[in-house]
Symmetry: C2
Subunit: 141 residues, 2 copies
């Protein structure tokens, strides 16, 4: 039995991606595959949590891939029909039970509650749910 | 305005951590700081998504740190009162608006719907919300 069934876990978006990529079909599969820089707009309620971030930091941004299919359990990796059907937990497919995207980015600019970051492949309007420093590069702060 | 406010994002736990660590106060701050191996019990509805995982794989496990404080926006890094208050997005504190834990682990054993993985610092009973392969080591599958 799933003990959380009666007490669902609810995410609070902390911000949103503003990107020139408007459709999922136009997005690269990974940030390293030609994705652009984007703006991350942080909602005011959580702005104090940015204190300490600086230009040049390497971050992991967690997004909610709101156009993903949550009932998909197997996919052809890289959408290549010649590759055998594989469990989504062995792939980075956006289609999965909890469609959370992990994106390693560099901070290019900080302008009040907006961070210019990249490269990032998520589409315009994608909710952001967390920001974490990359551990190995920041001495466990 | 937060456009998601009327349409909250709900996570479906895909499994649960079974660990000898029972309390948050006994957990190391990072997996690399002496954390044990644990069992990850996958719920039956999502078991097909494991297909393709193998012993020795390096994975990123995403957990929901259910004992964390979601209203905390600043912390003293590493719980060290001598370090200045810092925004949680510049730290790996479990206390943050969406308390998602990221854990890089190795698969030690697979037994039907249970994965033996480690090291992992989350406490017994922690919900698991996603599993992803580490990209750089698996050639983008």
């Amino acid at each position: 039995m799933n003990p959380q069934k009666k007490n669902p876990l609810e995410l609070r978006p902390i911000g949103v991606i503003r990107s020139k990529i408007k459709e999922r079909s136009k997005a690269p599969k990974q940030g390293s595959e030609g994705a652009p820089d984007v703006w991350l707009e942080i909602y005011p309620f959580t702005a104090p949590a940015l204190d300490g971030l600086a230009v040049g930091d390497e971050l992991i941004v967690l997004t909610w891939l709101h156009r993903a299919h949550r009932d998909t359990l197997k996919v052809h990796p890289r959408s290549d029909p010649k590759r055998r059907l594989t469990g989504v937990f062995a792939t980075r497919s956006p289609d999965r039970p909890n469609p959370i995207g992990l994106h390693q980015v560099t901070v290019r600019k900080i302008s009040k509650n907006r961070l210019r970051i990249g490269p990032l492949e998520a589409i315009d309007g994608t909710p952001v749910i967390d920001i974490k420093p990359v551990l190995c590069e920041i001495q466990k702060r």
